[in-house]
Amino acid sequence: MPKALAQPNLTAGSMYSQSARLIFKRHRSLIIQPLLILALSAALAITLSRAHLDVIEKVTINQKFIFRAIQDHLILSFASAAVILAVAIPAGILLTRRRYKKFTPIVLILANIGQAFPAVGVLIIAGILFGFGKPIAIFSFAAFGILPILRNTIVGLQEIDPFIIESALGMGMTPKQALRQIELPLAVPVILAGVRTTLILTVGVATLGVFVNGGGLGTLIIPGLKLNRELVLVTGGILTVIVAFTMDWLARAAEELLRPRGI
């Protein structure tokens, strides 16, 4: 617990500065990370604005194309993350209920297979079978990224001290009330850690969206590779890193905000 509580005779001023320092210490990485992201973005922007572009490079290195690529990339990542959340969290909850516990190993095996399959392979087979475009990219990425949240939801719920749940039931909570008021809030930190992993994972695989005409930053990386234009390739790569860093930062901020006090 914060030392400030144990020292009631501190003056208001020193208490303020102490708590400000404390906040900085606890959130140091949360404050430094956006600065790094901004610095990286600025460096990239300066480099691009000073570069002499040839005709091929000009097709992709322009504001309109880049913004469109970023926008598509965000759509792909967020949409697949949303699909994952909608499936994995309820599934994780069900799989920790007594009645469905027996299915946990088999579902985890399936999710592991989903992640073990090469994402490109899944994506292209799905594209051939169901047609090209964003929706198919989103569902393929979802299949790929379901494991972290599913596993963390299960683990987060399983590792709650069983005596806390026993006493919730002993107080007269129904199993549903115990789930909502006790189990889920206590599992939130672990579940959110899974959400963060999944978001970063989907930002990464979303670069493959280009293979099924889904757009995204892959539209810079792949042509950059094929046409041997390093600047285009690196721009796509760095932009992906920036998006991933930003997602990570948002998710960690959410973890800080949503973490129940007292644990």
Partner: protein, 337 residues
């Protein structure tokens, strides 16, 4: 730690807590638990009547089924067969969550909700029962006071900011919050250090005398059973009742070999602590020796004799000699048998 002062205050003021529900009788009839894939009952046809307002301690070696038996009363463990009757009402089949809201529950592991403030923890059952906010808040403050924790200081803290002993005080307050008729306690003080344990035991005894709940208390500590129980049920394997009686009855007339071995050596010495000086016949007048109050026990008188006193004065009523103490013990033995 703010300690027993508030308990004392409670006793002096008499009913500073709005405690309207007194204990109800619990009747357990042929209560049996057998776990799947086992050949032996964990608890076998357990019969016991727990009188209203008394504290009954289940004591026995670990693995004898005492906790299982207790947990069947609020059906945290569902009985395989048998009946549970509380206050004349068969609750064997009634909805478990409604039953439990009327039964206080305290476990050794305490089980406070770590993400909720102390006040919210205590408010758990009132909130489940849909009490009004103001009533709940008032009740929470009252109970934290009752267990010796200043609500303005501790109410907004979180469980991990409290010591083990303080946490268990909160556990007791939470169990009492909705003023239940029945309290189930599973080794509630077992995880605290010896000094805190003794203090909590004494406070709980004072509290129970005031509130007169029906308490089922599980422990493997025979000393604790003697201290807290109005009655003790000595249990052996499969929750067989070896003996069910007052602490004095069990000490002075163990019914079976198993009870005898559980009581152990020095039954008479242990009895000293159970007999109050007020029940002893004294020689008139005061002698040359230390003075004890009427509420003190023979054990304290014994302490005086061992440290060299020839006589012990009891208030101004008279004085006690060592021979009188001996005969008081032997007549207590006979009386109990």
């Amino acid at each position: 730690m703010v300690s027993s002062s508030s308990f004392v205050a409670l006793q002096l003021q008499g009913g500073s807590v709005s405690n309207t529900t007194q204990g109800q009788e619990i009747r357990l009839e042929k209560l049996t638990k057998r776990y799947p894939n086992t050949t032996k009952d964990a608890v076998s046809e357990f019969n016991l009547t727990i009188p209203a307002g008394e504290c009954v301690v289940f004591v026995g070696p670990s693995g004898c089924g005492k906790t299982t038996t207790m947990k069947m009363i609020n059906r945290i463990i569902e009985p395989t067969s048998g009946r549970i009757v509380i206050g004349g009402e068969d609750v064997t089949k009634s909805p478990a969550h409604e039953l439990r809201r009327n039964i206080g529950y305290v476990i050794q592991q305490i089980g406070l909700f770590p993400h909720m403030s102390i006040a919210d923890n205590v408010a758990t059952v009132p909130q489940l029962l849909g009490w009004e906010k103001n009533k709940t808040r008032a009740r929470v403050n009252e109970l934290l006071d009752l267990v010796g924790l200043d609500p303005s200081e501790y109410g907004s803290r979180y469980p991990k900011q409290l010591s083990g002993g303080q946490q268990q005080r909160v556990g007791v307050a939470r169990a009492l919050a909705a003023d239940p008729a029945v309290l189930l306690m599973d080794e509630p003080f077992g995880a605290t250090d010896p000094i805190t344990r003794v203090r909590l035991q004494k406070e709980f005894r004072a509290l129970q005398r005031e509130l007169k709940k029906t308490v089922v208390f599980v422990t493997h500590d025979f000393e604790e059973a003697l201290l807290l129980g109005d009655r003790i049920a000595v249990l052996s394997d499969q929750s067989q009742v070896e003996q069910y009686g007052t602490p004095l009855e069990i000490l002075s007339a163990p019914a079976t070999k198993k009870v005898e071995s559980f009581v152990g050596e020095a039954a008479s010495v242990r009895m000293l602590g159970l007999v109050s000086l007020s029940s002893v016949t004294l020689a008139p007048g005061t002698g040359d020796g230390p003075t004890l109050q009427e509420g003190a026990t023979l054990r304290e008188a014994m302490e005086g004799f061992i440290t060299g006193a020839k006589v012990i004065n009891v208030g101004t009523r008279g004085h006690l000699t060592f021979e009188a103490l001996q005969s008081a013990i032997s007549s207590t033995r006979k009386g109990a048998q």
